[in-house]
Amino acid sequence: MSQPNPAARRLLTRCEAILARLSRRKCVSADESEDFRSWARVRLIEQEATLLAKFRGKSSLDTYLVTVVHNLLLDYRISKWGKYRPSAAAKRLGSVAMRLEMLLVREGLSFDEAAEVLRRNEGVSATVEELSAIAQKLPTRLPRRFEGEETLARVRGSERAEDRALRGEAATAASRVEEALDAALLTLSAEDRLILKLHVQDGFSVADVSRTLHLVQKPLYRRLGQLTDKLRRELEARGISREDVDQIGEWQDLDIDVDYHLTDELPPARPSKQERGR
């Protein structure tokens, strides 16, 4: 007797709820949200049997499905935009910032062009002023200009050549820093690297790193301080300065961020015995 599989039906219903929430958070517009959800639904139906068969109960079903749907989102982005690693700042600022950064850095568009693409082609509702504010917060991965149409129309060929030269220099410097950083990171344990990546590269608060990696929160503050100190020493030993690190987007906030989170998140210092006695 052919019977509908209640487990599969409920799995799809659950995924639909996750998709709805995720697409609100991760898509740049209502149009893209709908597009992603349709795309993902087709894949979920195609993969329904495999998804169920692969689930062995090692995790909760909810977390498994959230992971599955995120995997779909990354596949969707790659299928639509190709592979691109957004900066930590862009990740923190959200999906519009990530897309804007992609247009500016990878596609090499001017700000006006990128804003036009986002607003006209991709249905982003943000104003040009709001997009400009976002752009100002993005790290300078490569030299960019935020100039109006009129200015662009007056740009001469020689200025473009200067820009190209600047881009080349910056790219070489960034590559040198990235190599040194990769080597410095390799001196750390895998868990330490994961902590740093989550906190510095992806902007997780110390509390969120603690919950995500199931580590006790309080010692994590000291551990992060020690890790950044060690990393800084390793980089300096390789001839890299803080200014050099600033050249590469995703680690640009290395020092600033850690200091900020440490002061921002530490509980207020308890008064000493002497202070209490007063």
Partner: protein, 354 residues
């Protein structure tokens, strides 16, 4: 060191999920951490999923697209701060009031048929909440609570998925716990608390539910003194919280249908085996049975429900033995026993008339 499941050169999604749930053994966790530190593809899925889970946990869930969605508003942050602690305190006040109401009902002990009929849609919680008034069922429970014939091993039985089966078993156990607590059967309640904790170990519990159900502060811990604390009553109604979206917007139990069927089946069986036909004769039961999507259920589950419906339409009091048998079959197979050889509760003690 045990190896995490890897598909091709990447981690299986379930390994990432289990890592996020904190459910990996030390060796496997270390291997996953090492992989995540090296593999950008897996790290991206892991970090994005973790970000989503943390945001949902903390109520950082913007509704709009665009720049407004990029950071929680001051209002939203305020709401998170305000809701988290007060919700738990409010839960206890509501719980205490509900407990008082249940105890009052227990003392008054009016038969179900005498109570005013509610115009609100009937719920299984309303049906099973009546059970503690029939104290005789506790004797049945004491003799039979662990005879469902469910396999001891983890994992789903042959009919339902793991989530449906877990929800059904939990529904059965929560009603049994309610009855045990109402009857002051601390020893049975204590054993049931381990069962409930085992079943809930596989779902995401919010902090208030975690405190209600699990660990030293939960049912088990509070039964340690050998007495039944009044604030646990009626657990069955508080059990609805398992289906209600919490501050993260997600219910602990995804499968409300099987959870409620488990609660109803357990309540009906305890009542019937105790010789009480009123639960089966009530309009709520008839409506509930009538509304079940039998055509969508596995035949092994649908068939006993059809027969229970047929026997309940006429005079259920004269069919209690057969109804009890069908309920036993239902509980056994939906809970994960092999349909070809279920080991149901012994219904020989069924009293056909009171």
């Amino acid at each position: 060191m045990s190896e995490p499941a890897i598909s091709g050169s990447h981690l299986e999604l379930e390994s990432i999920a289990a890592f996020l749930d904190g459910r990996l053994a030390a060796g496997e966790r270390e291997a996953v951490v090492t992989h995540l530190a090296e593999c950008e593809g897996c790290y991206e899925i892991f970090a994005e999923t973790a970000r989503y889970l943390r945001n949902v946990e903390m109520g950082r869930d913007p509704e709009a697209f665009g720049p407004a969605a990029m950071a929680p508003s001051v209002e939203m942050r305020g709401r998170v701060v305000r809701v988290a602690p007060s919700r738990w305190r409010r839960g206890w006040i509501v719980g205490a009031l509900a407990a008082a109401a249940a105890l009052a009902a227990l003392v008054i002990g009016r038969p179900l048929a005498d109570r005013p009929f509610s115009s609100a849609p009937p719920t299984v919680a309303e049906l099973t909440a009546e059970l503690p008034t029939a104290m005789v069922v506790s004797a049945t429970l004491a003799a039979t609570w662990d005879e469902h014939g469910w396999p001891v091993m983890r994992g789903a039985g042959p009919l339902l998925g793991p989530e449906e089966e877990r929800a059904f078993q939990l529904g059965v156990r929560v009603v049994e716990m309610d009855v045990a607590l109402a009857a002051g059967e601390a020893a049975i309640a204590s054993r049931l608390s381990y069962e409930i904790e085992r079943l809930l170990a596989a779902v995401n519990l919010s902090d208030p539910l975690q405190l209600l159900y699990a660990g030293e502060l939960g049912i088990r811990g509070r039964l340690a003194s050998g007495a039944v604390p009044a604030e646990l009553l009626p657990l069955n109604r508080q059990g609805d919280d398992l289906l209600r979206p919490d501050e993260r917007g997600e219910a602990a139990l995804v499968d409300g249908f099987w959870y409620e069927l488990g609660r109803w089946a357990s309540a009906a069986h305890l009542a019937v085996v105790s010789g009480d036909a009123e639960l089966l004769a009530s309009k709520q039961t008839r409506r509930y049975l009538h509304g079940l999507p039998l055509q969508d259920l596995p035949e092994e589950v649908a068939e006993p429900l059809r027969r229970i419906s047929q026997f309940s339409v006429g005079d259920p009091e004269h069919n209690l033995t057969e109804i009890a048998h069908q309920l036993e079959l239902l509980i056994a197979v939906a809970g994960g026993a092999d349909p070809s050889s279920p080991t149901p509760r012994d219904s020989s003690s069924t009293r056909d008339s009171r």
